[in-house]
Symmetry: D2
Subunit: 303 residues, 4 copies
Amino acid sequence: MPASNYYLEHWMDEIHLHGVKKTVVSTQTKYQKIDIVDTSNYGRCLFLDERMQSSEKDSFIYHEALVHPPLLLHPDPKKVMIVGGGEGETLRDILKHKSVKQAVMVDIDKQLVDFCRKELPEWAGGAFTDKRSKVLYMDARTYLEKSKEKFDVIIIDLTEPIEGGPSFKLYTREFYQLLHSRLTEHGIITLQAGTTRVHDTDMLTSIAKTIACAFPVVNIYQVIIPSFGLPWGFIMGSKTYDPLTYSPAQIDHLIRKRGLKKLEFYDGITHLGMFCLPKFLRRDFEKQQRVITDQKLMTAKFA
Amino acid sequence: MPASNYYLEHWMDEIHLHGVKKTVVSTQTKYQKIDIVDTSNYGRCLFLDERMQSSEKDSFIYHEALVHPPLLLHPDPKKVMIVGGGEGETLRDILKHKSVKQAVMVDIDKQLVDFCRKELPEWAGGAFTDKRSKVLYMDARTYLEKSKEKFDVIIIDLTEPIEGGPSFKLYTREFYQLLHSRLTEHGIITLQAGTTRVHDTDMLTSIAKTIACAFPVVNIYQVIIPSFGLPWGFIMGSKTYDPLTYSPAQIDHLIRKRGLKKLEFYDGITHLGMFCLPKFLRRDFEKQQRVITDQKLMTAKFA
Amino acid sequence: MPASNYYLEHWMDEIHLHGVKKTVVSTQTKYQKIDIVDTSNYGRCLFLDERMQSSEKDSFIYHEALVHPPLLLHPDPKKVMIVGGGEGETLRDILKHKSVKQAVMVDIDKQLVDFCRKELPEWAGGAFTDKRSKVLYMDARTYLEKSKEKFDVIIIDLTEPIEGGPSFKLYTREFYQLLHSRLTEHGIITLQAGTTRVHDTDMLTSIAKTIACAFPVVNIYQVIIPSFGLPWGFIMGSKTYDPLTYSPAQIDHLIRKRGLKKLEFYDGITHLGMFCLPKFLRRDFEKQQRVITDQKLMTAKFA
Amino acid sequence: MPASNYYLEHWMDEIHLHGVKKTVVSTQTKYQKIDIVDTSNYGRCLFLDERMQSSEKDSFIYHEALVHPPLLLHPDPKKVMIVGGGEGETLRDILKHKSVKQAVMVDIDKQLVDFCRKELPEWAGGAFTDKRSKVLYMDARTYLEKSKEKFDVIIIDLTEPIEGGPSFKLYTREFYQLLHSRLTEHGIITLQAGTTRVHDTDMLTSIAKTIACAFPVVNIYQVIIPSFGLPWGFIMGSKTYDPLTYSPAQIDHLIRKRGLKKLEFYDGITHLGMFCLPKFLRRDFEKQQRVITDQKLMTAKFA
């Protein structure tokens, strides 16, 4: 056993110990616990409330999967919003799209963003100082309720809904209806929404069903971010365009046309692979009846 | 933390503790350490040499992915061999194909098979007593070298190549050439071959490159078996048929035609999804140069 | 790392994993969680509410330290009571004293005693069927309140006071006053009362101070039971006799006179050693002001 | 579970995870692995080769027990040697004795001492810059073989004998005979020598038997340093004076006479308590036959 320092994650009777080379930050903000840790297997990692959020080695997978599908499917994304967005990687990937004139990131936790800018500066790669970026520190739902701004794409980059956590009320039908009303004609949203582990898909499929109350086209897609320890589900809600109708060649054509370079994970074949879900997951989605509302919230189960 | 008993797996600076309800078997055979454990999250699990092999909750994914693609792609599989096969689930899934007249399973470890038949009888589901089954306890390579039998499909269901372990010499060019010579005209092999974790694909792609020395059509495919903790790679080596050329509709047609019922994981869309690899994995495979030979073996790195 | 199965104990930011060979019992009674586990280092162990209580390898230390000092110091112990006593080892050690005519054990948890009699029969060594034994299943405090019986020695063999746990109200001034009133002229009590770890002696010294409200002679003594992971404190409350006034030779003489055989831990020198506390512990006891009452209970801190 | 970072120690099928607030140093010198870690329960801790050596909260116990008994028993200790001594606490405690004119510390690992002086400066408390201190970086055995210096007390403050570790050849009969020859008329040595855990005393009693080949008066004493997780054995080898013949009042008188102040652990009663061993440990020592020699070394068993 080479390591002597470990970072401990646990969820429902499982404990995962990550070998640690160095602890960079370990602190509590007004909203959440932040740990930035250099691990043996995943390089520098960001944990929020003791859950892996991003790792140096594989966070590119998370962000390419979250950002590029909606921006490519939208015919001309000019204005993009990020709900959450913490360490700035989502912002960075959005700004790779030259059509984008403005990217508004609304994260409730300024201390988190400040720590990330200090300790993980290369993760955002200059995105925070890009002229097209606008970063606000407030509750994203309040922001959207008060503003009449419209966006072409809204990317939801949040932690899971833990009771009392900062993201608890950002997974409801009312919130998705609000998002729909703040999107332009062909508007699209994406988000991460919990594990796709077999027999454990209740949260993911409930969120997808909830989004279907507001959006006509809803697709779950599955992405493997190894540092998460479990396979992960993302959801796209769309007013018009359907990701299942694009061939690998079409996606690759769009990538070239938009001038996207240096993608490591995402291309046409990856797109097809991640939207082709295993049979049980499609069935679980079909059978799911639950809709999450402001009155009937859902809580991620870890313990 | 609800559990007080845990089963510990570790690999390269990571420790995974599975909550345990009951330990059913914990013993050492001539070839390997066997643990059969009732876990909180995955039900009854089989560990060989302290590595998760099969779990009640998700082993159907592993076996459907290993067995049905080669048997469906082959136009008329009558004779099938299993190299390894331990607990009998691979045998069970092969026998679901009515075209199959004989399934020969050659596993070196009789004690393992006996423990599984006793403690996990429902896993094999009657396969061991099916008239079409023939189970031999010996080294599969020796068996193939001495025999002149030919098979339509050979399924390799082994643990990873650990030095001194029972599978160490069953991942070499010479072994794959032997398999090729024991297959009929349109013969196909499949096997599991290590993780697809990003930056950690060396074993998988080396094995795939090695198989390419013997087979004209070689495809890696990616399968998520959550209890493994990491995404997993499988390989198909084929004399004729290419899994990438089949549409979901064609696969679904074959499933119906062959009368396969109650598949939970595999169907046409699943097939497409698992053969559409992420971009970095296709690149790693292209760049891989290593060929494993009897003289230059490769060892799985866990510690 | 030879073991793959572990039993997890945790307290205040520390986790202790005991290598496990076999789990014998893991169940929940009306009062507490019971685990009987065969560990690598301590043999068969009994855990209550996930805290080590007794181990095959070192529980003789606990029981010799708890039982023999009060019974030897008392000039003629005929009637002895056990408050708690679960697995029966305290009963067994009391019955080694031939002067004892009756030993009354009052444990609230019949299921616990039944499991111990079934799975750990050699621990009690015939004590439960000894004619001098009387075992009652009820709350010991209620028993003492309703009865007018008097005892020469009362041995308190309980788990620590956890809120809602079975022992919560058996550590108060009122309870010790009740005990005092149920003891004969030279009556003595002993009990275990928490760790003696430096900077962590608050519970132990509070309990000792509380006992001093009822008994004129109160002494803490320190015992090492390695399986507990921390050094442990016991307390003797006495109406007359003071353990500090006995020389090793006097204790050894009493042991011979009473015909006690096969003691492995306790003798005159051991007696002297365990009552000679380290300087900081004597100071902590002097400074302690807290008295635990029915109105102001104290809770063991584990987490 | 409040902590998310842990330091892992393991020995023979047990794993101990210490909650960590901050990792201060984690490095490898020419001789050993050094970790300096701020733990939840023991404050700042020094680990060598992944074994707890000293903690902020309880290392005073270790050092008071190692240093003051031999210096008080010696009638006039002027010249003292430390074999090992790393972080400087032993040196600090020796210099509290005003009779001491020179303290020579010989530690093989200069990098270790430098790290400790930088990261744990208050531990040595100015001892390294005291005019009476002489610190040499070399193998202590070589130093003693080449020198003809004589000392009144030699304190051995080493890690346990791990094969290939820096202390491996400093536990043999030949080494203790060398020490004897370098001591003045009433010379005394002390050292830590492994756990006193029941059934696990083989190393301690073997070392004590080995010392008995060179010294007429040999006593094991037992000290509880809670951060070690197990009770610990020390040994005193003496040419003349016997610690068992001193009463608490005599020790307290010597402490006052020598002007020792601010002792937290050690005084007359503590002295008596730690030399009064439990019965089984005295028996194990009596029965022990093994003598460790340069030809027949002994290795600490951790795994």
